[in-house]
């Protein structure tokens, strides 16, 4: 069974002699004081919890996401990105806690893995947030352009199939009704949003019978080769990029609706 002494000895074999073990809950929760600090001077949060079968769980106890939440909202995308890094290091995110259960002789690699994850989490979260903001801003610019052409009565943002998908899990960025043809328009800011748009067409296609599926990319050439091919198969791509081509896109929209 793990004790403070046995855990301290195990640490000192592989780490700096200054590494220390602090008992947070006797017999069930230990905190490791390692010489690893965040930018604000707070130590990286590393905890060890013994299991009944002799293994140990190495965990951040939820401190990583708690720290991130001081400055940004923790979105699903951020959790997913941090989880990807966690998994690459042998960990996983469960209810906001980054953890891994290992045999005691695998304690050291697990500790290093968690230190790595915690160090990477903040830049990853901020980069993910930046991408999300860019995506949202681009989508809004496309929606505004379409409404500008057709008016808010005909152009419906975030269209979903209310009958079969009441929660709107799959939605088209903007649908234009009332012309000779219905237009289903996707704002494509990234490879991810392109693939999402392709999937949306399969899901919502039946609800928008005979619609023309149009894509307005932020930068078509920035998409992966594979995604570019798939997007071209499923959508009419109105321009390689919206920037500098707004008038061309407007003209094509009017043409497509006729």
């Amino acid at each position: 069974m793990m004790t403070t002494e046995s855990l301290t000895q195990a640490l000192r074999k592989g780490l700096d002699p200054s590494a220390m073990v602090r008992v947070r809950r006797p017999g069930s929760l230990y905190q490791l004081n390692l010489p690893a600090f965040h930018e604000d001077g707070d130590a990286v949060g590393i905890f060890v919890r013994p299991k009944r079968d002799g293994r140990v769980t190495v965990t951040d106890l939820g401190t990583t996401f708690m720290r991130l939440s001081y400055g940004i909202a923790i979105t699903d995308a951020i959790m997913s990105q941090v989880d990807s890094v966690a998994q690459a290091n042998g960990f996983a995110v469960h209810d906001g806690e980054i953890r891994s259960t290992v045999d005691q002789h695998d304690l050291m690699p697990a500790l290093f893995g968690l230190m790595q994850i915690e160090t990477l989490a903040e830049p990853i979260a901020h980069e993910t947030r930046r991408h999300e903001r860019v995506s949202l801003e681009f989508r809004q610019s496309v929606v505004d352009l379409v409404i500008g052409v057709f008016g808010s009565e005909r152009a419906v943002p975030s269209f979903h199939d209310a009958a079969n998908d009441p929660d709107g899990h799959a939605s088209v960025d903007v649908v234009v009704h009332g012309g000779a043809r219905t237009l289903a328009i996707a704002a494509v800011s990234s490879t991810l949003s392109a693939e999402t748009a392709i999937g949306t067409k399969f899901l919502i296609g039946p609800a928008l019978d005979r619609a023309r599926w149009l894509a307005v990319p932020r930068d078509f050439n920035a998409l992966t080769n594979r995604t570019r091919s798939r997007l071209l198969r499923e959508y009419d791509v109105l321009a390689s990029t919206l920037a500098g081509n707004a008038d061309i896109v407007r003209a094509k929209l009017i043409d497509q609706a006729a």
């Binding site: 600090f37 707070d42 009944r52 106890l61 001081y70 400055g71 906001g96 690699p109």
Partner: protein, 185 residues
Amino acid sequence: MSDPKTVAELLALPKRGTAIRQVAKRLGHAQLNVSAEAADGTKFLVFVRVLKLLPENFSIGLVLIEGNAVLLRMNGDHGQHGNEDGDTFDGPHIHQPNGEQMALPPVAGSKPRFAVRVPTPPPPSVRVSWGAFKEMVALRVDQKVDHKIDEIYKELAQIDIGLDDDDCDDHDDHREPDAGPAKGP
């Protein structure tokens, strides 16, 4: 146009906290955000975070909305803190701008690295620290905010973190016995 306020002036500026927002996501901490505003219209955010499995690990912070600068952050006993001068210590502490930085306007996006110890044995709870925090930053809040903090404190005080019986990260179904942790790239 008046000169921008210094950190010290912003901390001392009387504020009133009203709207609160809790997030119901599945995270390992309890979370509360309080919008606060001074009489001159200066807007702030107060955040409160409490770790569910170790409630003495909490954080209460005051953020100036314009520029998103953290003016002060009160931490419970989350572990060690190391100041730039090499002073390292365990236990509750307060992050705040150091010395002459208090007499300057806050820098956009800043988070104070310097921290002072809070010598309060036993380590304070979020409930006790909330009262001290409000005084430090001249914050008055609606009673419902105090009640929310109390609710969080009472709920988390009941959690007993015993041995880890959770098998959520057992990977025995796709890993060889004694294989150790999956190696990353």
